[in-house]
Amino acid sequence: MSDFLHMGGYAIYVWASYLLGLLVVAVNLWQPWRAEREVWRQLTRRRKHEERMRESETS
C-alpha cells in the first residue's frame, strides 16, 4: 500500500496531477449545478410575479 502511495518516488507529481484532475471535474460539475439552480430560482420568481399580477387584475 505504501509502495502504491509512494509511486516510485514520483508521489507528489502523480498525486498532484490526479488531484488537479479531480478538481477540474468538480468545478465543472459545480458550475452547471449552480447555474441551473440560479435560473430556476429566477424563473419561478418571474412566474409567481406574473401570477400575482394576474390575480390583482381579476380581483
Binding site: 518516488g9 502523480v14 488537479l20 477540474v24 441551473e36 430556476w40 429566477q42
Partner: protein, 251 residues
C-alpha cells in the same frame, strides 16, 4: 435529413432530448472513469524509462485531447449557428468554452508536473506545451469576447466568427510552434507519445479519454440547457415547464 436536424434544433425539442442525452453521458462517463482509474493506477505497469510518473499521462493526454476536441466542437457549432441560424448551436458553443479552458489548464498543469521530474524544470518551451498555452489564450479570448458584448445574440455571433478564425489558425500556429521548437531545441526530449504503445497502457488511456469526452458532453449540454431556459423564459413551453415543476414538487 436536414429538416429533421433542424427540427431537433428547435429550443423545445432540444431541451427534451438533451436532458436524456446528458444523463446517459454522465453515467457513462462515471462508469468509464472508474474503470479507467482502476487500470491507470493499479492494473498497468510502470514505464521502463519514466517509471511510475507515466501515470500522469493518463490525466494529461485525455485533458490535452479534450482541449482540442472541445475547440473543434465550438468551431463546428459556430459554423452551424452562423450558417443555419440554429440558436441552440451557439448556446452549446458558449457552454463548451469554459470546460475547454479548464481542461486546457489541466493539460498544461499536468504537463508541467510531468516535466519537473523528467526535465528538471517546471516549464520547458516544448512544442506541445507551447501550443497548449496558446490554445488557452484562444479560449480566454473567446470567453472574454462572449462576456464583453452585452446583447446575448450579438455576442454569440461575434464569438462564432472568432472561433472560426481561431480554428483556421490552430494548424498554422501548431505547425509554426513545431518548426520553432525543432529549430531551437536540437536534441528532442522524450515525448509522451511513442511509436508503439503497449496495450496495458493504451487501455487506461482510451478509457480515460472516452470518460472525459462523455463528461464534457454531459456538462456542456446541461450548461446549454440552462442558458436556453434563460433566453426562452418568455415562451409558452418554459412557462409550462415551470408550472409542471412546481406542481410536481421536485424541489
Amino acid at each position: 435529413m436536414w429538416a429533421w436536424l433542424h427540427r431537433q434544433g428547435s429550443p423545445k425539442r432540444f431541451y427534451n432530448w438533451s436532458g436524456t442525452l446528458a444523463r446517459w453521458a454522465g453515467w457513462g462517463s462515471l462508469l468509464l472513469g472508474v474503470a479507467g482509474l482502476y487500470y491507470a493506477l493499479f492494473a498497468s505497469p510502470p514505464d521502463y524509462q519514466q517509471g511510475e510518473s507515466v501515470r500522469i499521462m493518463y490525466v494529461h493526454v485525455p485533458a490535452a485531447w479534450l482541449s482540442m476536441f472541445i475547440y473543434m466542437n465550438i468551431a463546428a457549432a459556430s459554423l452551424v449557428s452562423l450558417v443555419w441560424r440554429i440558436k441552440v448551436a451557439d448556446m452549446f458553443a458558449a457552454a463548451s468554452a469554459p470546460i475547454g479552458a479548464w481542461f486546457t489548464f489541466l493539460a498544461l498543469a499536468t504537463g508541467s508536473l510531468w516535466g519537473k521530474p523528467m526535465w528538471g524544470t517546471w516549464w520547458i518551451w516544448d512544442a506541445r506545451l507551447t501550443s497548449e498555452l496558446i490554445l488557452l489564450f484562444l479560449y480566454l479570448g473567446y470567453i472574454g469576447l462572449l462576456a464583453a458584448i452585452e446583447e446575448r445574440e450579438t455576442a454569440a455571433r461575434a464569438a462564432a466568427v472568432l472561433a472560426l478564425v481561431g480554428v483556421v489558425n490552430i494548424p498554422i500556429i501548431h505547425y509554426s510552434v513545431e518548426w520553432w521548437s525543432t529549430l531551437h531545441q536540437g536534441a528532442t526530449v522524450t515525448k509522451f507519445d511513442k511509436p508503439s504503445i503497449d496495450w496495458t497502457m493504451l487501455r487506461p488511456l482510451l478509457l480515460m479519454a472516452f470518460s472525459a469526452t462523455l463528461f464534457y458532453v454531459a456538462v456542456a449540454l446541461r450548461l446549454a440547457r440552462t442558458e436556453l431556459l434563460r433566453r426562452e423564459r418568455e415562451s409558452q413551453w418554459v412557462r409550462e415547464l415551470i408550472d409542471g415543476r412546481q406542481g410536481g414538487g421536485r424541489r
